[in-house]
Symmetry: C2
Subunit: 295 residues, 2 copies
């Protein structure tokens, strides 16, 4: 069977079966944004990677500096979604023969743009030849054990928040990995679950619902957006937002709402209720997941 028939998530379900974990030091494997690994008494190690391929994830019409910035930003967003502190990264490059040294220097400027902000290090990588430019970055980070917000820990009645408005113009290039926001949140509040909205709000929230065995209701009137001509369905299904979505108890939610920093958009309900959108006329709609997929 071709993978275009079973789809990206069908493939991931298969891979899960092939690589069942035996080692108890692996807290989370393929099921979360990062692998979560036993490190020391206080901390977990976070380990994740993201591959970008020319003409699939970007085109060469985009300046190399911005391609580099995006490639590193995407993997930093994974670390952010587990409230981690990024530490060390490796960069594998597949390079077309005709690429110039200067273009690669610009790529690296993009990678390094984030180093100043988040003080991690690029510690190596690999180089191969390829027909199209390929960038695969792996990242190590750490997070305190008692603070890590999993996908699988959303609780009944939790309030669902997102960190900023959706539909920002050019968001796929100029997004900010929410490392600092995530650290602020776990340092000041008890966060039950968290994910980044890289594949679309509905699809990513749905990962939390499935892994936590719960349902959710989100309210169109509460979903904050930038000025846009797109309708709400498009916005909640489109990928590359890179905001964080998190859930907290109603009690914690009150404290967070008081800060006026983040946006409550709905609530966790029981699993048999499913996943619904209350539209602006207060009509309930079933949500059909249509986020970004490679296949």
């Amino acid at each position: 069977m071709r993978i275009s028939r079973i789809g990206e998530f069908g493939l991931i379900e298969n891979i899960k079966k092939w690589i069942k974990h035996k080692d108890i030091s692996v807290i989370k494997g393929i099921d979360d944004d990062c692998a979560i690994i036993e490190f020391d008494k206080k901390n977990y190690l976070l380990f994740c990677c993201d591959m970008l391929v020319e003409d699939v994830d970007f085109t060469r019409e985009i300046p190399f500096y911005l391609i580099g910035r995006k490639a590193m930003g995407v993997v930093l967003s994974d670390i952010a979604s587990k409230a981690g502190i990024p530490k060390y990264s490796l960069i594998s490059l597949g390079l077309p023969k005709d690429i110039t040294l200067n273009s690669i220097k610009e790529l690296y400027k993009g990678f390094k743009f984030w180093m100043k902000k988040f003080s991690f290090e690029i510690v190596g990588g690999d180089i191969s030849r390829a027909e199209r430019l390929i960038i695969d970055i792996s990242m190590l980070g750490r997070v305190e054990k008692e603070k890590v917000p999993l996908r699988s820990n959303a609780k009944l009645n939790d309030i669902i928040f997102i960190t900023d408005r959706l539909g920002k113009p050019k968001k796929h290039l100029y997004f900010l990995p929410r490392i600092k926001e995530a650290r602020y949140l776990v340092n000041n509040f008890s966060i039950n679950s968290m994910i980044d909205i890289s594949d679309g709000l509905t699809q990513d929230l749905n990962h939390i619902l499935k892994q936590s065995n719960v349902g959710a209701v989100i309210y169109e009137k509460l979903i904050p957006t930038f000025k846009t001509k797109k309708d709400i369905e498009t916005i909640i299904n489109q990928g590359e937002e890179f905001e964080l979505l998190f859930t907290v108890t109603p009690k914690e939610a009150k404290r967070i709402i008081a800060k006026k920093l983040y946006y409550p958009i709905g609530q966790i309900v029981s699993g048999d209720y499913g996943f619904k959108l209350i539209d602006k006329n207060f009509k309930e709609k079933d949500i059909r997941i249509k986020g970004f997929r490679h296949f």
Copy 2:
């Protein structure tokens, strides 16, 4: 300037300048087979990656099982070269649309072939679409601080060894990452420097020479080979051998030679002497580095 003009190692020299390390927890970065990172009192963390690209590093005429085995074997060989114990890996795949689920299952069988032997875990990865199959594997391992054999620590008069004969038929598919041999060596002897011969004996030994500021003499008569029609120059320059090359003091060398497990092939000399081959007629020749390069 096109990178095909400055070459793979010219590019790496440039990247080194762009990513100078400030963090003292980074013991070695781009300069060794793995990044070596402060972990705890006793151990370093090893962190490395290898990218294989279809039609550059393999073709689809090779069974997927063997492609997977090779892709994971290459990165395990990097861990072996620092005498590490492999622990956790991430697999990024760039997949053509027409690939079948069964082919990917075969790839994973290849990856998993090594898990039984070396008991590490696959903890996640990423999937993208690509025109050609791309496999990039990153690996975390650990090694005791007092045992890690660097590229930069070869000493004057050290004896140079390799772990097995060179020129084995189909070595690029059926090699064994020398994890167990490396562990045996560092557990029983004091190993000054080590590298794997993935880019060819001369090129990889030359990395040790440059980073240790020394020269070397190797002896054609001492270089063990499988039955082959290739001449010695071809054999010492060809990549994908995946044996280990290591250096030890003459005193340690005696103990290792007594075990009759590994092959002494030459000696470390002073840097101004350069890098020479003594041929089978005992004529001294300058060695010109001609190992595998992507550009």
